[in-house]
Subunit: 185 residues, 2 copies
């Protein structure tokens, strides 16, 4: 018996490799061959799990969306249990400076440059977040602005423009979270 479910594990390694390719070489050079090279598998092996390139891109977007949905659900559970509004927790989740943020950038970039329609699931996800972020707010326009600023952080990561020092970034993050609390004051 293998140490982990072999199928899922291989799939994830391949997706990890794909993200690395995008990060290192750019979305244009996300080729099957480049993924093969980084993943350590052979071309046939990779194409067994993702029969064509579209499937690979779709896999990247779906993993991203699922992972993000998980974080959102977690944030909402915590908020509910604490009897607190959900917005600060969503803001925290979206601005967390973990590897996830780069992952978002690479997956979105790869998909949109090749097959924009694959962003559909991400699109739906964002609409849902928008909605939950705004509903129950005493100031919907400001809520939307906060959401846009959170988007802006991702935007800069996507373009490689995230030049904030950790201190400034943390100050921005803290302020945004603070602003969400005031939406309910």
């Amino acid at each position: 018996m293998p140490p982990q479910k072999p199928g899922k594990d291989t799939r994830d390694s391949i997706l990890d490799a794909a993200e690395k390719v995008v990060a290192d070489l750019g979305a244009r050079r996300l080729t099957i061959d480049a993924v093969v090279e980084r993943s350590g598998f052979s071309k046939g092996g990779v194409l067994y799990h993702f029969p064509n390139k579209t499937a690979l891109l779709d896999g990247m977007v779906c993993r991203l969306v699922q992972s993000f949905e998980g974080k959102l659900a977690e944030a909402e559970t915590i908020a509910r249990q604490a009897g607190e509004p959900v917005q600060p927790h969503i803001a925290k989740a979206m601005s967390a400076k973990d590897e996830h943020q780069k992952q978002v950038a690479q997956a979105l970039l790869a998909a949109i440059s090749e097959e924009p329609h694959l962003l559909g699931p991400a699109h739906d996800l964002l609409r849902g977040v928008d909605q939950r972020f705004i509903e129950g707010s005493s100031d919907p326009v400001l809520s939307q602005i906060i959401m846009l600023a959170l988007d802006g952080l991702h935007h800069r990561a996507l373009l490689g423009f995230d030049v904030f020092t950790p201190e400034i970034r943390e100050a921005i993050r803290a302020r945004l979270i603070d602003m969400t609390w005031k939406l309910h004051a």
Copy 2:
């Protein structure tokens, strides 16, 4: 004597065609042949003006940066003449919903997916805007948040996620500009 400078005119038509290709087919399918088809020129003609694809991408980014620099300079001149702070005028320029915004998205997307380093000039431009936006502000962190929200608007245009109704978009825009005025209160 031709109606316009022929060289410049052809270059611009080609760049327009390139942007249309990105908008319609995605950055990945920004091929020389696709640009040739849309521009109406022949492959040889296009390659005379942009000897290779990198030159074409560079042309897209440079035209974008120059156009934006022009708008910024204009905003700053107006602010100076009126004896007003510059931030509200920069915010207005950045949030204007003209065709320019789509142009920005297409050019950046094409460049980053193919050759990220071509974004250098855009990177420098944004750093400059950031700096001018923050200096002289009574609340640098809030200034940066406003700038990030403006980025967020572009981000959504880039990903095709700009689903605001014109009314909501205008409300967001007005609020952002209003916030910049208060940075000097």
